[in-house]
Symmetry: C2
Subunit: 172 residues, 2 copies
DNA sequence: ATATCTCATGTGATCTTATAACATTAGCAG
DNA sequence: CTGCTAATGTTATAAGATCACATGAGATAT
């Protein structure tokens, strides 16, 4: 049940602001971590896949596939949709990236390696996305599923609302 | 915390099977109920809106906007996307219909009138969708939101997995 | 009754998101 | 080096959603 307040508030600012250096370190650490996990699990973190992950880590917010594709092209990779979607498929399948269904957008996982049942808080004002953990099998949904004999394999839990930063701006 | 086992199992069959008569009654009752609520609340359940609701009740499963649009055209209504989207917007806004984000599809509300925090169970084999209630403010997500100072306005809770009917078919 | 205002609908164009299909290339196993 | 498998490149198209503007239908006020 972790929440990333940080990601809720730093979206409107350019991805690289005062904390540029720190963020660079955080990106490269996350990339190194991903490389390690791929090596361990026999997964191939190819250049496109690595670049897509790097983009999402760098931006630190939810990006649409076509935005990612633009950035891929800028970096000299193929510029057709499947290039981005295939890399995203790989990253999502292996838990490096999550898809935010409400936004049809993708965001780097904030808790890589851990057991994944992500939940997202999405600010409708600034579009910032924070990742938390959810415990789907516990609450009402889990009970309903058990009652119905439905086998849950994956859950989408997304809350839409107003982040603290935007709430402060609204009523001062 | 209600669950609709029915809607999980009757999707592969044509929408109108053995239970045709019963289902017709259930559709017309739901329509009458909707008309009553609209009258009470000063909402206009116009012909297109009513037809879209009728389609979703009749089919009793999640339909994409363009499928609905095709059925609208068959029924003599306009055939351009905004016709369907506008009717769906109205129905969703007023709680007669829900959008299933995972499927980019729409389904008639199974618990109209009640307080809405729907949760869905989506069978990845047969695409059937069952509606249950969720209690977002309770579990892990609610706690994370409170901790972060995030104001939840709406939640998307969708579980993907295998419905009992499809599970039975898989391992007999 | 009719002018007018508002909300709803019709329509064409466009935009965004996602996938299908097939050719090409890279890395690895024999 | 050969042949296999996985990944990438590229073209085309499907599927989902919105914009902008014209038309129509109902209510309200004169």
């Amino acid at each position: 049940m972790t929440s990333d307040l940080a990601s809720l508030s730093d979206k409107e600012a350019p991805a690289l602001g005062f904390h540029e250096h720190d963020h660079d370190i955080c990106v490269s650490e996350a990339l190194a971590e991903a490389e390690k996990r791929c090596a361990e699990q026999g997964l191939r973190l190819t250049p496109v896949r690595r670049k897509v992950l790097e983009i999402l880590l760098q931006e630190h917010r939810a990006l649409g596939a076509y935005t990612i594709l633009d950035l891929l092209r800028d970096a000299g990779f193929g510029s057709q949709p499947p290039v981005a979607y295939r890399a995203l498929d790989f990253l999502v399948e292996n838990g490096f990236v999550h898809k935010v269904e409400r936004l049809n957008a993708f965001v780097a996982c904030a808790h890589p390696g851990e057991n994944h049942s992500p939940a997202f808080m999405i600010c409708r004002v600034c579009d910032a996305v924070a990742e938390a953990h959810s415990t789907p099998s516990k609450g009402a949904l889990g009970a309903a599923a058990r009652a119905a004999g439905f086998q849950i394999e994956r859950t989408v839990v997304e809350a839409e609302g107003v982040c603290p930063a935007c709430a402060d701006k609204a009523d001062p």
